[in-house]
């Protein structure tokens, strides 16, 4: 088992602590590195895709370390393929462990999905069939990962555009079981819940109601697009009003949690991201006040 990062009152004035508190953060993008370092904007923390910093050196790691001197960092992985029947990729895990030692992140997360089969990587977040077999397979991979890294990780629910015929566990039950059996935390992506609730016709609030309060350590918010038939999780638009409403519902259930604005395609100016993060921050402060 791995210790939860407790939400404590910040008493230390040092801004280089690794702990991520219940505040809004944004994704760190190369085109914003210099602006962030010269302006040091008021934002709680930054999240990066771990794999983008797997190189041995150079500009990406230099800027990440500079920014880490001022803000906590969350490492969000997209390539471990925890739900695959392939064995875990040891070189990938080693690179992640090195990066963790170098950056000392507040949170480390991955996805409830698979991405490789027979050594071939599809480099996408592919949905799992929600069965006992898939559950015990991913739980075992999460446990191996946590043992190797020596820390608890968070697992994020993904958006999906299809369902498998033989799935016999609701997605929310599956996520809850993954967390309970492996001891991992949950990164709850509110946008993905909303996208799936439309694509697969279920009540999004029911998903949130099923998630154990203590397991949720981070929340993601993002924008989606529609292809006419399906909502697609593109991370290229502002958060929709439906997703904001669902976020407020989640905050009422779970209390304030570190919340990330994800924006991965058509990346806007830093100021736009900060404005979007501020909308989350205001909601968090409301709920923090109510909770206190």
């Amino acid at each position: 088992m791995y210790a939860l990062v407790k939400e404590e009152v910040v008493i230390e004035s040092s801004n280089t602590s690794s702990l991520i508190f219940s505040s809004a953060g944004i994704g760190l993008r190369a085109l914003h590195y210099r602006e962030i370092l010269t302006t040091l904007p008021k934002v709680g923390w930054f999240e990066v895709h771990s794999e983008n910093y797997f190189g041995a050196g150079g500009q990406p790691l230099y800027f990440l370390e500079q920014i880490r001197n001022h803000y906590p960092i969350s490492l969000h992985g997209v390539g471990l393929s925890l739900g695959s029947t392939d064995i875990l990729n040891l070189p990938h895990l080693k690179k992640l462990k090195n990066l963790i030692q170098r950056i000392e992140p507040g949170l480390v997360s991955e996805h409830l999905c698979w991405g490789s089969i027979g050594g071939r990587n599809l480099n996408d977040l592919l949905p799992l069939p929600y069965t006992e077999e898939a559950l015990s397979n991913i739980v075992s991979h999460i446990q191996q990962t946590q043992d190797f890294l020596g820390r608890r990780i968070l697992i994020e629910n993904v958006s999906s555009y299809l369902q498998f015929k033989h799935s016999n566990i609701p997605e929310w039950e599956f996520l809850k079981e993954v967390s309970e059996r492996s001891g991992c935390g949950i990164l709850l992506d509110i946008n993905n819940i909303y996208v799936n609730s439309i694509n697969h016709q279920f009540d999004a609030m029911r998903f949130i109601d099923a998630i154990p309060l203590a397991a949720v350590e981070e929340i993601h918010l993002a924008g989606f697009d529609s292809n006419g038939n399906c909502l697609i999780d593109t991370h290229g638009t502002p958060v929709s009003k439906e997703v904001w409403a669902l976020y407020e519902y989640a905050l009422a259930s779970f209390g304030g949690k570190p919340t990330l604005i994800e924006w991965d395609t058509d990346i806007p100016p830093l100021a736009t991201l900060l404005r979007e993060a501020n909308k989350a921050q205001l909601r968090l402060e409301q709920f923090n006040v109510v909770a206190a």
Partner: protein, 255 residues
Amino acid sequence: MLSLRDLQTQFETDLFNGDAAKCAYILKEGISAKERIAIYRNNVFSNYRKTLSTVYPVVERLVGEQFFRQTADAYIHAYPSLSGDLNEYGANFAQFLATYTPALTLPYLPDVAKLELLIELVFHDTDCNANVLEKLANVPEEQYGELVFIINPAYQLFKSNYPVATIWQVNQPSSQADDTVDLQSGGCALLVYRKDFAICIKPLTKGEYAMLRALAAGNDMNASFCKAIEVQSDLDLGSFLQQMIQERILVDVRL
């Protein structure tokens, strides 16, 4: 019921099979199973295409967007991704272009791709500190011939029969230069390195190239210089070494 392994194998086959996809394991809800798997196919292919076009912008500019997309798709079918890190995808693109029939009319294209890959490798390579000058100060001049230099890990040497550096240069978005390149103007030998995180491409003479190769292989100064003057008798060793120390290519030295 399909085992998880069989389902993942079948899904992969269907993803790459286009219209022949079977998809019997996917639930029909509104839109067809084939349309559903097509969403994933589109995501997967566009991720790979984006990665290739990020690493090979000059190749894309040379062949045009549409041709690049077709070439990328052919590459994606021929070369599966072997890493969960998408940034590692595309390392065999030059090799692929050399045998890709529709691109054979542009014989310099594989070398342009090779140069772009080297730039990518240098961009992410290990950092290091240079302290060669301090160390040299303590070496008596008569021992210079036995010196073995350590080369900055973030560098690559490259040789081509085509004027690849010029092609690369005039195809930069910032380039103001005339974009016609005389293919008969001959080949080039290049040093790719990093200076304050910016990528530099330095044309080398035959002797300079031979010298750096020999030093990189661990030869001492005497042996390296012998190899260099075999190909270029008028090599100005002193000023070349000075430049390589200044540009932090030679970062350390031992006897």
